[in-house]
């Protein structure tokens, strides 16, 4: 890194997959992974993780709590392809087969600070009633070939989905050198900024 200024900025995300609301299902676990653009590279932490199986709480909230930590650091040169976290929730069906209970994705918050996100979860639908029955019977529900599909828009038009529940996520975001590279993502107060004033035009 030269004295003239940094060439990359860093994004540190930590937080947790807190809990989920799946009224119909119990004993679920979740997987998460990040989807990011070509200019991004993870520098530290885990990109993917799989949680423990949790059962519904006995209280009225009927919450499924995982409190599964997320801790990853990215570096990038370009906000394009900002990381998204993709969640997929699985749980056993009546026959004991693991079936998918929901997919969901959300962008990592842009601005530094603490953010809470609740994301709706959905599953792809069977193509026909018969299919639905057999898939239920066989315990092989339709799944996405790759959970990362839910982080992109392309090709989604061919699928039909049904929403199933919600997952709540907590993010703590720290960025480094974003301002120096000319990206102003923070809240309007500039109290914590250091270094030179924001450049007036695109950096060269």
């Amino acid at each position: 890194m030269t004295a003239a200024g940094p060439s990359v900025f860093l994004l540190m995300v930590n937080g947790q997959v807190e809990s989920a609301q799946f009224p119909e299902y119990d004993d679920l676990y979740c997987k998460y992974c990040f989807v990011y653009g070509q200019d991004w590279a993870p520098t530290a932490g885990l990109e993917e993780g799989i949680s423990q199986i949790t059962s519904k709480s006995q209280d009225v909230r009927r919450a499924l709590v995982w409190n599964f930590p997320i801790d990853v650091t990215f570096k990038s040169t370009n906000p394009y392809g900002w990381p998204q976290i993709v969640l997929s929730v699985y749980g056993p069906d009546v026959f004991g087969n693991d079936v998918v209970r929901g997919y969901g994705a959300v962008h990592v918050p842009f601005s530094p600070g603490r953010h809470k996100r609740t994301i709706p979860m959905f599953v792809p639908e069977s193509t026909s009633k018969l299919q639905k029955f057999t898939s239920w019977f066989m315990g092989r529900r339709p799944e996405y070939t790759d959970p990362k599909v839910v982080a992109q828009g392309e090709g989604r038009e061919v699928t039909r989905v049904r929403s199933q529940g919600f997952v709540t996520l907590l993010f703590n975001v720290v960025t480094k050198d974003m301002r120096k590279l000319g990206y102003d993502t923070g809240p309007p107060d500039t109290q914590g900024t250091s270094g030179p004033s924001p450049p007036q035009s695109i950096p060269r």
Partner: protein, 1574 residues
């Protein structure tokens, strides 16, 4: 024709003859006579006679001179013959003047008798006429002088014809003018003279004097008359009078002519001196001057030239005439008397617009060589065959459906329908009439005619003004007359149109004026006639007196003879009546009242309304109710047929009670080509039962100017010939019916109607009409506008831009008066006069400017931005670019270098890598095709199916359920375990080193064995057998003969196998003997290009696995025998024996390769021979010995197993018939259901990405003539040669060039142009050649080793089948076990496809008789007959002879490069080249080529040994088709010749290229290493 008229005709004929006789120098008079004649006869004969007599005279007037010169010499004598006899003319001249004549003659005769005595007594000198001659002649000559212009045609003949008669003629001429001037008919004296002359010649002389006197008198009279009367007419008249009289006289005198013949004197031949002749010519010939004629001479005096063009009349372009010619012509015309009539009002010669083409159809001749400019010089350019290259560039951004035709079908009206009641029929008639009226109204005919009338009147006015009636010239007069006649016409024509009082007045005044003019003319005529009459009277009186004196006692025997004289006594002319104005007015008014709308009377405009109420159903008779119900049941729809294909149809609409159907549908036809036909089919549906085609309506294809929004709705009529009889009130169609009660007056009406529609070209987003380019159109469709075609000059898009159009019109100087341009001018005037302001720009995003944070230039300069753009476009270089730097300064320029270079090079063909330019072009082209296909693939990659995104279990069918139930009962650990498929790995998360290629080398057969150097001249076995031997499959021909040379147990060969892949080399241990068994597994790492393990990247790996077989030779290098005990000093040498090459792509797609392959052994292997030892012979069955060559058994696979990429699901568009495509799908599913693993091919993708039925590829095509000529006697040899030619075309698998996306088939000419293709192309070409050779040949789709699914060619010889491998040129019998083809899927012939439905698919076990439907399922059968598909192949293949010099040059270059390479590969050793050996090898290569590598080994070996006896050498020729240099280098490298590091080794390398037609090159490389024997 009544007898009277006839007579007059005869008389006029007489006059013509007279004219001729008057002859030379009297032309003026002749013409005058004609006019005179006209005048004369007016009062006397009048009416029809006038016309009759006039006509011949006019004709006479036009060509008097020719007749003069040519006809006279003969005609005179012959015609005059009978004329000299008086009775004949008299007989013919019984006529109207007869009686008066008789009367007069009688008088005269009496008078003559009375004076007889005195006359006889008189003495008159006979020579008197001679004396008078000279002055007369002079007079004539002066006449000549003045009228030289009319004398052009006089010939010499004229002069000396009947010279003898000159005297008489002279006398005649002398006398003629002196005769008195009786009008029209001979005077009494003449008649008298005529009759008396024969009997008594003397009176002639006596006559002469008074005649001369009278002549003088008349002359005086004439002059006086000329002064008195208006000059033109007066003059003419007197002349005419004089002439006429002269003629009569001459007629009379010529009677004498004949009698005078008796006096002919014989004279010597006449000589005319040159001088005289010149003089005469000068007199006779007229040379017009070339000086420009001033305008005033060409126009009537005091008339300003008038330019019609300035007055707003259209004058076409005059033809180009050189100025000098024009001047000459003008001068010539002006000297003629009525010359001025040839000039127009503008003082130029009248000319019609130029009818000729503006541009010469013949190229201009360049006569002067030095005038040719450099740019006009002809350049010779070689004809270039046009290949549709651009069309393959699919990714170039042509959206599908380039062009759009909008068809708006608004509705349908029946003018007759079977369900019409009688009332409807009448109503339809009324409507038709009303339509006609409307159309007429629209065309505004009345207004148009009125305007034209007005314009013509104006023109008359302007024409009259400058030309005072007094001095009006012929031309103006004529023009005005024309106008007037036209006005008259117009008035008559439009008499039924609107009329106005003023117009009536104008007409009256016109008529009056006309009448007045006529009256004046008549008055003039009258005056002239009167004058004449008076003169005649005078003359008559004088004559009477004279006659009485001359013939006092003349006795005429027969009074009847005198009367025929046509001399008519002029009737006293009656003065014409002045026009009665009141009468004229009354006439006009009458006519106006008859035909015109009275002033003040309102204009009646008929209007047709359909407001009448319809009788409700209850009140109608039953039949009518039935009819109405029938109508209700009917509905109509229209099919749109484009190029004979139905493209769409309208909704079915019920037929209304008024027989109108409203559709209001617009069809947008997306089309590619210029439409050929556009048809609407009207269908009628009755109830739910039947649909009948009522009629077809053919729509015209719109002009390119017709675009949507501007196309008018047009009504196209149609009619149907169907016959319909209905049982209700409906009148039916095509059946007679009648309105009358009694059934008379029958009518037959056919169903007819009108479709209102509009067809127009759509306008694209950017305002450009979506019209196919003009080049696509057939010539027949071209618009009639040619030269001044606005469209061609500014393009169709310009037509929408009126400003551009107006500008063009101004620039091209369109004639605004040209009727052709009228609509254009109107459009422009409308466009330019409109004051509405149209901004010349349109801004879509008005505020874009404000939102731009940097200027565009700055943005474009940013390297980072560019990099991001390129990456998002998925440009190959940047597709996977990671972490684009945040700053421009961190981006290195060289990142773009490759990309820019590639862009630059796209169009530059560089010959650096490719020695041959043609190959370079082909390589470039392939690259481009590949890019476009990849682009398409990338696009296709973004199309998703549900199965791409969602994994969903299939609904299990009963068998699967049963199986899974069965599985439950299955043993956990079966005793005979089944082989389980390996786990397949998707290629995403792989990295270098993860993938290995496993090569299992099991064993080899029949490896060539070393030959001891001693046995130089042994007879080796031939490396291959002839065609017949192979076919015969008899092992006896190959009995081992040389086993004696090899003692049992001697090591013949120590082969080992070396496998090289991506320059990684592994080798097996050394085995012994010609049939070694290794059974070793070699592991070779695989590196994907650029570390990209994606499917696409793996598919495009082009590396080959080389499996080389070497012989390990140990040489004792111990120089001293004494040391033998203490150490072993041997050198290991390895000699290349042969190789097998397997492309990686094959391994990748096949997942495993398992089988026995033929080792590619060079035809000559120095130091080795292919021997079969007794041991081996015994050990193997005879089947093996059927086949020649060495074999190796291999098993190759990739670990882990990779999932081969799937081909793109893309339904390509096709030009095949939809039915055929459906049939192919059905056929394929049926076949796949029965035999899922057998290849069934019905449609293929051609190089432009369109689906084509496969049989279209098969068609007899001519092989190069050169090959046919090579062995004309042996068809088999020819077939082999052809197969060899095909195999010499380089092989390039589709999967490599097109990344496994799809299998593209190129046609044979494309294949030969590209000089690269895979098995299918080779097979198609070979099959086509065989077909053209007259063989029965099929394309055989199946699978072979090592290629996998492939195409072979099957031919049927007399009794057996042969299988040809098109890529190698080898052929196999059906029962050859070593045939690489392992299974047969289907056979394809030029007209059918047969799918193998036999139990087995191995060629050994199947029957190739395709006529058996139980064995072969044919595509076209009785249920689907072959429709006769046209071939996609060219008519004929054209072969260019390959440039021998270029081949030789290439040969030298390759040799040089290879030598350099070998030296490079031996960096630590000195590489010596043995020139002697090289040249020996070089001489040997052509022999190899000639013999195709067969049957030469022994001679060759012998020769080499003889030449290089003291060398120990190993070497071999390599033979390859030439595509590019790299494979050659690879091949040489893989043999490892360079690996010998014996210090004194020498090398020899020779290259030979044999050119075949069409740039197919066969490359031979002979490499040898030599070691000098000590």
């Amino acid at each position: 024709m009544n007898p009277k008229e006839e007579k007059v005709k005869i008389i006029t004929e007489e006059f013509i003859e007279n004219d001729e006789d008057t002859g030379v120098g009297r032309q003026k008079k002749t013409s005058k006579t004609a006019r005179q004649k006209r005048k004369k006869q007016l009062p006397t004969a009048g009416g029809p006679e006038e016309m009759v007599s006039e006509n011949p005279h006019l004709g006479d007037q036009q060509e008097p001179m020719q007749e003069d010169s040519d006809t006279r010499p003969l005609s005179i004598t012959s015609r005059r013959g009978p004329r000299s006899l008086p009775p004949i003319p008299s007989a013919s001249r019984t006529g109207f003047a007869e009686f008066s004549m008789r009367e007069r003659m009688r008088e005269k005769l009496q008078a003559a008798r009375f004076k007889a005595e005195s006359t006889l007594l008189r003495e008159i000198p006979a020579l008197q006429p001679r004396r008078l001659q000279s002055p007369n002649k002079r007079e004539l000559e002066t006449e000549f002088g003045t009228e030289a212009g009319e004398e052009v045609q006089r010939t010499q003949q004229d002069d000396f014809q009947s010279y003898s008669r000159v005297k008489f003629r002279d006398s005649v001429q002398k006398i003629k003018p002196k005769l008195p001037v009786p009008p029209g008919f001979p005077s009494a004296e003449e008649a008298y003279n005529f009759f008396t002359f024969n009997f008594d010649p003397e009176p002639e002389e006596s006559q002469e004097k008074p005649k001369a006197k009278t002549r003088a008198g008349t002359n005086q009279e004439e002059e006086e008359g000329g002064e008195e009367e208006p000059p033109a007419q007066g003059e003419r008249r007197t002349d005419e009078e004089e002439l006429l009289s002269a003629k009569n006289e001459e007629d009379f005198l010529l009677g004498l002519d004949h009698t005078a013949e008796d006096f002919i004197a014989i004279r010597p031949a006449e000589y005319e001196s040159v001088h005289i002749r010149l003089q005469m010519e000068r007199e006779l010939l007229f040379v017009p001057s070339r000086v420009t004629v001033p305008t005033y001479k060409k126009l009537p005096e005091n008339v300003q030239p008038r330019f019609l063009e300035d007055e707003g009349l259209y004058i076409g372009a005059r033809p180009e005439v050189p100025r000098a010619c024009q001047n000459t012509m003008e001068n010539r015309l002006l000297t003629q008397e009525p010359g001025r009539k040839w000039f127009g009002d503008d003082g130029r010669i009248l000319a019609l617009p130029n009818p000729t083409k503006a541009f010469p159809s013949r190229p201009p001749m360049l006569t002067q060589a030095q005038d040719i400019k450099a740019e006009l010089e002809t350049l010779y350019r070689k004809a270039v065959k046009y290949v549709h290259r651009s069309q393959h560039m699919i990714g170039s951004g042509d959206p599908p459906g380039n062009f759009q035709l909008d068809i708006d079908i608004s509705g349908l009206i029946f003018t007759h329908h079977p369900c019409f009641s009688r009332e409807h029929v009448l109503a339809a008639k009324l409507a038709q009439l009303y339509d006609q009226y409307l159309a007429r109204q629209q065309r505004n005919k009345a207004k148009f005619l009125t305007d034209k009338l007005q314009a013509l009147r104006n023109a008359v006015q302007t024409g009259l003004n400058p030309a005072k009636p007094h001095k009006s010239l012929d031309t103006t007069q004529k023009a005005i007359n024309e106008y007037k006649s036209e006005i008259r016409e117009k008035v008559d024509q439009e008499a039924d149109e609107a009329a106005y009082e003023a117009e009536i007045q104008a007409e009256i005044s016109e008529l009056l004026e006309e009448h007045r003019e006529e009256y004046e003319q008549r008055m003039e005529a009258y005056r002239a006639a009167y004058q004449q009459w008076k003169a005649w009277k005078k003359a008559q009186r004088a004559k009477k007196k004279k006659k009485k004196q001359e013939h006092p006692v003349e006795e005429h025997p027969d009074e009847g003879l005198e009367e025929p004289y046509p001399g008519e006594e002029p009737v006293k002319p009656v003065p014409p009546e002045p026009t009665d104005q009141a009468l004229v007015e009354q006439q006009v008014r009458e006519r106006a009242a008859r035909s015109r709308r009275r002033p003040g009377e309102p204009t009646l405009v008929p209007e047709l309304s359909l407001a009448g109420s319809i009788t409700p159903n209850e009140q109608c008779p039953r039949v009518e109710v039935l009819r109405r119900e029938d109508v209700k049941r009917r509905s109509i729809y229209i099919k749109v047929i484009f190029n004979d294909k139905e493209v769409s149809r309208t909704d079915s609409r019920p037929l209304g009670a008024d027989f109108r159907v409203h559709f209001g549908q617009i069809f947008n036809l997306q089309i590619f080509n210029w439409p050929e036909s556009l048809t609407l089919q009207v269908y009628e549906t009755v109830g739910h039962t039947g649909t009948t085609l009522l009629a077809e309506v053919f729509l015209p294809i719109p002009e390119t100017t017709v675009v949507t929004g501007r196309a008018p709705i047009e009504e196209v009529e149609f009619s149907s010939n169907q016959h319909v009889t209905l049982d209700h009130e409906g009148v039916g169609s095509g059946v007679p019916f009648s309105f009358e009660a009694d059934g008379s007056n029958q009518l037959i009406l056919m169903t007819s109607g009108k479709v209102s529609n509009s067809v127009a070209w759509a306008i694209g987003e950017n305002g450009i009409p979506l019209i196919p380019p003009l080049s696509q159109q057939n010539i027949g469709f071209r618009s009639a506008l040619k030269r001044a075609d606005a469209i061609s000059s500014i393009g169709t898009s310009g037509l929408t831009d009126l400003k551009k159009l107006a500008k063009w019109a101004a620039e091209s100087k369109l004639d605004p008066n040209d009727p052709n341009n009228a609509p254009l001018m109107q459009l422009i005037s409308v466009a330019t006069s409109g004051e509405s302001y149209v901004p010349d720009f349109f801004r879509l995003e008005q505020l874009q400017q404000e939102f731009n944070f940097v200027s565009d230039e700055e943005l474009n300069r940013s390297k980072r931005f560019r990099l991001l753009c390129l990456r998002s476009q998925e440009v190959p270089e940047f597709r996977n670019y990671k972490q684009i730097p945040a700053y421009d300064r961190e981006i290195l320029e060289k990142v773009f270098q490759d990309y820019e270079k590639r862009l630059r090079d796209r169009n530059i063909i560089e010959t650096k890598d490719h020695i041959d330019t043609h190959r370079a072009i082909v390589a470039k082209y392939l690259q481009q095709v590949r890019e476009s296909v990849i682009n398409r693939f990338l696009i296709a990659k973004h199309h998703f199916l549900l199965s791409d995104l969602v994994v969903e279990e299939e609904v299990p069918n009963i068998s699967i359920l049963g199986l899974s139930l069965f599985k439950l009962a299955e043993q956990k650990r079966p005793l005979r375990p089944r082989r389980k498929g390996r786990k397949k790995v998707t290629a995403q998360n792989l990295s270098d080193g993860d993938i290995k290629v496993l090569v299992n080398i099991i064993r080899a057969y029949d490896i060539p064995v070393r030959k001891p150097a001693a046995s130089k001249f042994q007879q080796p076995s031939r490396s291959s057998r002839t065609f017949s031997e192979k076919r015969a499959a008899s092992p006896t021909t190959h009995s081992p003969t040389h086993s004696v040379d090899y003692p049992l147990g001697q090591v013949l060969v120590r082969p080992f196998v070396e496998v090289s892949f991506q320059r990684t080399i592994c080798h097996t241990t050394t085995a012994e003997g010609p049939n070694p068994s290794w059974n070793e597994e070699l592991e070779l790492p695989f590196r994907a290009p650029n570390g990209d393990y994606s499917t696409t990247s793996l598919q495009s790996v082009r590396d080959d696995v080389f499996i080389n077989i070497f012989d390990e030779v140990l040489y004792d290098v111990l120089e001293d025998d004494r040391e033998r005990g203490r150490g072993i000093h041997t050198r290991i040498e390895r000699h290349w024996l042969g190789s097998v090459k397997i492309p990686f792509s094959t391994i990748y797609f096949q997942a495993k390769i398992d089988g026995t392959f033929k080792i590619d052994i060079p035809p000559v292997l120095l130091g080795y021979s292919k021997e079969r030892s007794l041991i081996i012979e015994r050990g193997f069955d005879s089947v093996r010995s059927l086949s020649e060559g060495s074999y190796i058994t291999l098993f190759i696979t990739i670990e882990p197993q990779l999932v081969p990429g799937e081909s793109v699901r893309e339904k390509f568009d096709s030009q095949e018939d939809e039915k055929l495509l459906q049939a192919t799908e059905k056929f394929q599913t049926e076949c796949a259901f029965k035999f899922p693993h057998r290849q069934c091919l019905t449609t293929v993708t051609d190089i432009s990405g369109k689906t084509v039925f496969v049989t279209r590829y098969l068609k007899p095509l001519n092989p190069p003539q050169e090959l046919l000529d090579a062995c004309p006697n042996s068809p088999q040899a020819t077939a082999e040669l052809v197969a060899r030619y095909v195999s010499l075309i380089p092989f390039l698998p589709d999967t490599v060039s097109f990344a496994g996306i799809c299998d593209l088939w190129s046609t044979s000419d494309q294949f030969l142009d590209l000089l690269a293709g895979d098995e299918e192309e080779h097979a198609v070409l070979l099959c086509n050649y065989f077909l053209s050779l007259g063989k029965k040949a099929w394309l055989m789709m199946g699978s072979a080793i090592p290629e996998g699914p492939t195409a072979y060619v099957l031919t049927r010889e007399q009794s057996h089948y042969l299988i040809w491998n098109p890529c190698t040129g080898h052929f196999y019998g059906q029962f050859d076990t070593f045939c690489p083809l392992k299974s047969v899927g289907c056979l394809i012939g030029p007209d059918n496809i047969w799918f193998n439905i036999q139990r087995y698919d191995s060629p050994l076990r199947i029957n190739f008789d395709v006529t058996k439907p139980k064995l072969w399922k044919s595509f076209f059968s009785r249920s689907l007959p072959y429709p006769g598909l046209s071939s996609v192949q060219p008519e004929e293949l054209i072969y260019q002879r390959t440039d021998k010099a270029a081949a030789a040059e290439l040969q030298d270059r390759i040799e040089k490069i290879l030598k350099e390479k070998i030296m490079d590969w031996r960096p630590r050793h000195l590489t010596r080249w043995n020139r002697y050996c090289t040249s020996a090898l070089r001489h040997f290569l052509p022999v190899l080529e000639r013999s195709r590598g067969e049957d030469v080994e022994d001679d060759h070996r012998a020769e080499l040994l003889k030449q290089l006896g003291d060398y120990r050498f190993s070497g071999f020729p390599l033979h390859m088709p030439y595509s590019e240099l790299k494979p050659l280098i690879e091949a040489v490298y893989s043999t490892g010749v360079h690996n010998i590091d014996v210090p004194n080794v020498e090398f020899a390398l020779a290259v030979y290229i044999h050119p075949y037609p069409k740039n197919v090159l066969s490359v031979w490389i002979y490499v040898a290493s030599l070691i000098r024997n000590r």
